[in-house]
C-alpha cells in the first residue's frame, strides 16, 4: 500500500496551486466541502465530451453509455461501503435529501403516536429538522442523547435514552463540529435489541475512514459526494433491501414507475422507485472517480494520516493558553475536525483575518445550533483536514492565530 504523501497529492488538486490573497492556500474547511483532484474534474469533462445521454430505456449508443456509467457508479458505491446488493444504493442530491427521504418515506409511514425518535445533541440540522417534522406530525417524542465533558456519549446515556418505545435512532458517525466518533456499533446493537431501526449520518465519516455497512448492521446510511472529493449535487442513501422494498416512494414522476393510469400508478422496484426524474449521471461519474481516487490511496492510510495531523495540531493548540478546544482533547475515537474558541475574539473575526493570510477555516454554528446551545457558546471556529493537508498547513494556521491575536492587540 502506498504511503500517503500529501505533497505529492496536493499536485493533483488544481485549487491548491492557487495563491489566495497572495498567500499559499491552507485549505482547512474540509468538513464543509472538499476540493476535487484533476482525475475527478476530467472524469466529468470526459463524460460530457463523450458519453452523455439520458440513461434508461434509451436504445441509442449515448443513452446506453450513460446507463452504463450510472450503473458502474452504483456498483462502485456498493463496493465502497460493502452493501450486500447494488439496489440498496439510492442516489439523492445530498445527505440532507437522503435523511429527508427516510423521514418522509419511512418516518411518516412507520412511526406512530407515542413512539420515540432518539438523536444525539451534536447532530447537524439536516439530521434534526426532518425528525422534528415527523415527531410533530406523528405525535412522537423527540429525545436527545447528551454528551459528557469530553464530548462523548456514555454507555449510561445510551441505555437511558434508548427504550423499547424507541423506533428510530438517527446519529452521525462523526460529529461535524467536535470531531467525535460516536460509538455507533454499540448504539446499533443496543438499538436493535430494543427494536429500533438505526440511521447513521455518514457525511463526515465515510470520506475519512473505512465503513462497512454490513459489518455495522446499520439500517440506513447517508452521505454526500462533495465531502469526499466528488461533485456537488449527488448524495447517497444506503438502505437495507427489506426496508426499502416496504417503503412507499418519496418523489414521484418519470423513471420510477411500472404502469401509470389516469388515477393511479404502480412503481418500479428499488432502487428506481426512489429515483424520480432524470438523475445526475455526471455527478455519479464524478463520484465514482472520487471513490477510485480514495481507494487508490487507501481509506486506512487517509485515516492514519489525519490522526497524525490531529495529534500535531492538538499538541500545538493545547500549548496556547488562549485557545479553548471544543471537542475531545484526546486522540481516542476522534476524526480530523477541531473546533475551538479564542478568548475575547469572535470566530467570525478569526475566520476573516485568517482568510487574508490564505487560511481557509469555517466559523459559526456549523448547522448545529442545538449543540451550541448545549455547550452554551454562540459559535466556534473549526479546522478540518483531508488527505492533501500537511503539517505546513497547520503551522500556517498556528502562525495565523498569532497574527489574529496581534491584530486584536493581544500578545501571542
Amino acid at each position: 500500500m502506498p504511503k500517503l504523501n500529501p505533497h505529492q497529492i496536493k499536485e493533483d488538486f488544481p485549487i491548491l496551486q492557487q495563491k489566495i490573497n497572495g498567500n499559499r492556500l491552507a485549505y482547512l474547511d474540509n468538513s464543509a466541502t472538499t476540493l476535487k483532484p484533476i482525475q475527478v474534474i476530467e472524469a466529468i469533462s470526459d463524460y460530457n465530451k463523450k458519453s452523455h445521454g439520458n440513461p434508461h430505456r434509451g436504445a441509442h449508443k449515448l443513452s446506453v453509455l450513460a446507463t452504463e456509467e450510472y450503473d458502474l457508479a452504483r456498483k462502485k458505491v456498493k463496493e465502497f461501503i460493502n452493501a450486500k446488493h447494488s439496489e440498496e444504493i439510492i442516489f439523492t442530491k445530498n445527505t440532507t435529501e437522503s435523511l429527508n427521504l427516510i423521514a418522509y418515506s419511512y418516518g411518516m409511514n412507520f412511526i406512530n403516536e407515542g413512539d420515540e425518535i432518539v438523536l444525539a445533541i451534536s447532530e447537524h440540522h439536516s439530521n434534526i429538522l426532518p425528525w422534528q417534522r415527523v415527531a410533530k406530525e406523528k405525535k412522537a417524542n423527540l429525545k436527545y442523547m447528551y454528551l459528557n465533558a469530553n464530548s462523548r456519549i456514555s454507555e449510561k446515556e445510551i441505555k437511558e435514552k434508548i427504550t423499547t418505545r424507541t423506533k428510530i435512532i438517527s446519529i452521525a458517525q462523526m460529529s461535524n463540529v467536535l470531531g467525535t466518533i460516536h460509538p455507533i456499533e454499540q448504539i446499533i446493537e443496543y438499538g436493535h435489541k430494543m427494536g429500533a431501526i438505526i440511521i447513521v449520518d455518514g457525511a463526515q465519516s465515510v470520506p475519512h475512514m473505512p465503513v462497512d455497512v454490513q459489518d455495522l448492521d446499520v439500517d440506513f446510511f447517508g452521505f454526500s459526494a462533495h465531502k469526499m472529493l466528488g461533485p456537488m449535487g449527488i448524495g447517497i442513501l444506503y438502505g437495507k433491501k427489506e426496508l426499502l422494498e416496504n417503503m412507499p416512494p418519496y418523489l414521484t414522476g418519470g423513471d420510477m414507475i411500472e404502469y401509470v393510469y389516469e388515477q393511479e400508478a404502480t412503481f418500479a422496484p428499488i432502487p428506481y422507485k426512489f429515483e424520480a426524474g432524470t438523475q445526475n449521471v455526471e455527478g455519479a461519474v464524478g463520484l465514482r472517480a472520487a471513490i477510485e481516487y480514495l481507494e487508490n490511496i487507501g481509506l486506512n492510510n487517509i485515516q492514519k494520516h489525519e490522526e497524525i495531523l490531529v495529534e500535531y495540531a492538538l499538541d500545538k493548540m493545547l500549548k496556547l493558553p488562549y485557545i479553548d478546544i471544543q471537542g475531545p482533547i484526546d486522540l481516542y475515537m476522534r476524526g480530523g475536525i477541531i473546533s475551538f474558541t479564542l478568548e475575547d475574539i469572535h470566530p467570525h473575526d478569526i475566520a476573516s483575518i485568517l482568510d487574508t493570510y490564505g487560511i481557509a477555516i469555517r466559523a459559526g454554528h456549523h448547522c448545529a445550533q442545538p449543540l451550541m446551545n448545549y455547550l452554551k457558546i454562540p459559535a466556534t471556529s473549526r479546522i478540518s483536514f483531508y488527505l492533501y493537508n500537511n503539517t505546513e498547513d497547520i503551522d500556517q494556521f498556528i502562525e495565523g492565530i498569532k497574527k489574529v491575536r496581534k491584530w486584536f492587540g493581544y500578545g501571542s
Binding site: R57, G58, A59, S63, T67, E68, Y259, T266
Partner: protein
Amino acid sequence: MDLDSIYSEIIMEHNRSGHNKKALKEPDITERGHNPSCGDDITLQLKLNDNIIEDASFTGVGCAISQASTSIMIDLVKGKTIEDALDLVNTFLAMIKSDIDNEEELEKLEDAIAFQNISNMPARVKCAVLAWHTLKEALL
C-alpha cells in the same frame, strides 16, 4: 456492432412467421409476462401431458426481439419435459449474461443461440429474456 448479429435472419423469420402466435384451446397453464419499461406484453399458454410440454403458444404485443425470442423458445421446448425446459431456460439466461463461454453447452439451445449477441444492445436484453422468464414463472 453488426446489425446481422442481432436482427439475424432467423430472428426476422420468427418475427414474421407467427406460427406459434395463437391461443391454445384449453391450456393447462396461462402466464402473462411484461416489460413495463418498453411495453412488451405476452401471454404464454402451455398444454401439459404429465411432465411433458405437449403444446405451447403465445399472444401479445412487442418488438421483433421479444416476439422472435418467444417463438423460438416455444419451438425449442415443445415436446420437452418440464425439467429439460427449465434447464434450457437457465442455459439461455446464463448465455445472455455471458456466464457461459463453452460453445458446446450452448448447442442445445439450437436457434435460440441467435440471441447470443444481444448484450451488445443492453437496452434490448429485457426484450430477449421476457419469454424465458415467463416460462420459468409458469413452470415453477
